[in-house]
Subunit: 234 residues, 2 copies
Amino acid sequence: MGKTAENGPLANEPGDSLGRKKGQLHAEAAGKLRSMILSGELPPGERLREVQLCEQLGVSRTPVREALRTIAAEGLVDLLPNRSVVVSELHAPDLEHLFVVFGAIEGIAAELACQKITEAEIGEIGRLLAEMIDFHTRKERAPYMQINQKIHQRTVEIAANPVLHTVWQSLVPRVERARALANLDTGRWTGALFEHTKMFTALASRDGQLLAKLTREHFLNSLPFLQSRLENDD
Amino acid sequence: MGKTAENGPLANEPGDSLGRKKGQLHAEAAGKLRSMILSGELPPGERLREVQLCEQLGVSRTPVREALRTIAAEGLVDLLPNRSVVVSELHAPDLEHLFVVFGAIEGIAAELACQKITEAEIGEIGRLLAEMIDFHTRKERAPYMQINQKIHQRTVEIAANPVLHTVWQSLVPRVERARALANLDTGRWTGALFEHTKMFTALASRDGQLLAKLTREHFLNSLPFLQSRLENDD
DNA sequence: AACACCAGTCTTGTATACAAGAATTGATTT
DNA sequence: AAATCAATTCTTGTATACAAGACTGGTGTT
C-alpha cells in the first residue's frame, strides 16, 4: 500500500552525495511544478489532479497541495473550488497588461539600481552578460535563459528595495513563462541580446533615466512576438 | 479530544443567512490571516505557531498551513524552514521603500487612466473631489479618508489593467494604514488636498505625464510626516 | 429517441497520526 | 558559579484516513 514516497525523484536517498537538506518537500514540489509549467510540460488549461502529481513528484498530497497554493498565489494556476486546479491561461490581452506593469516595475528597479550600484557589482553584471552572449552564440537556450533571469534578478536586488523586490517576485513567474515562449523566435532572441548590451552600457554609466527607458522598451519589444505566438497555439 | 473545528469562528452555522458555501476553509483562513496582519492584530515580527492559529481560527492545521503558503507568496509572512512563520517586518525605512513603489504604481495607473478616461468618469471624479473638499472644510476626517481612498481606487479601475489592479490591491492596505496616520497632521492634510485638486486638473485635461509626476510627488510628500510619526510609536 | 434520475466512481477538502528537527530546561562537570 | 551536554518538550513536515462534493455511465420513463 504505502509505496508512494519511498523512492520518488524528490526523495533524498541516504547516500545522497549532494548533502541536500531534508524537509521542505513542498518548496521543492513548488519549484518542480513551476518549471513544469514554464517548460510547457504542463500546458495552459491542463487539469492537475493531485494524486497524479503525487506519483510524478514522489510525495504525498500534503506537500503537493501546499505547493499548489503557493504557485496559485503566483498566478501560475487557478484554484477552482472543489474542482481540479488548472494551469492558468495566457491570453494575449492579459499579456500586454502584464508587460506594461512589469516593464514599469523593472524600470523603477533600474533607476534605483543606477543610484546604488558599486563598481564590483557592475563587473559582476558584465561577467553575466558575457556568459549570456556566449550561450547565445552556441544557441544553448536553457542556460541563456537562466543567465538572463539572473541579470534581471541581480538588478532588482541591487535596487535594494524590499517592497519592489516582493512585487517583482510576484510577477516574475508569469513573465518568465511568457519569455520562454518569446525567445523561441530566433530573430527576437538576437534583438533581445542587443538590447541587453545597450542596457548594460546605461547601467555601467549609471544613467538611470536611460536604463529605465531601455528596460520598458525591452519588454514592449518582446510583446508582439509573444502575442503572435499565443494566437497560433491557443 | 476532537473539539477543534466544530464551532470555530470560520464554521458556518446552519442559520447563516448569507448562504456561504462550505469548503474552502483554507481560503477563508487566508482572508482572516490577511486582515489580522493588516489591522495590526498580528504585528510585524510576530511568530505564528500553527496550532495556536488553529485554535483562533477553529480549523485544523492542514488549511492553516495552506493559507500560510498563500499569504507567504503574497509577501505578508516569511517562511523560515523548519522554524515558525513570522509576520514580515515593515519599519520606517521600509516605509520609504513602500511609498516609492506605490507612488510609481499609481503613476502608471494615472498615465493609463488619462488615456482611457471618459467625460462621464471625469465628472464622477470631479464630484468625488468636491465631496472630499467639503469634508475637509468640515474637518470630518473619516469620511474624507473614505472619499480619498475611493478616488485613488477609481483611478486605478479606470486604468483598466487587471495586473496593475492586483498589484495595487496588494500594496494598498499597508499604504492605507500609513496614510491614516499621516493625515493626523493638519498641515499635511491641507497640503494633500491641494495636491489632489492639481491632480484632478491634470486628469481632466488628460495630461498623463503631468499626472504621473504629481502622483509620485503626492506620495513622497506624505512620507516625512509618516516617518516622524513612526519613530515615536515603534 | 431523448431526457431525467440514480448509483458508483473519482477528486478534492479536512482532520489526525506520526516522525523528525529545533528549542529549552535542568543537571552535571569543571 | 559558569558552561556544556543531555533529555524533555515543542513545533514543523509529511503521510494517510475519512468525508463530502462533482463527474460518469447506465437505466428507466415518457
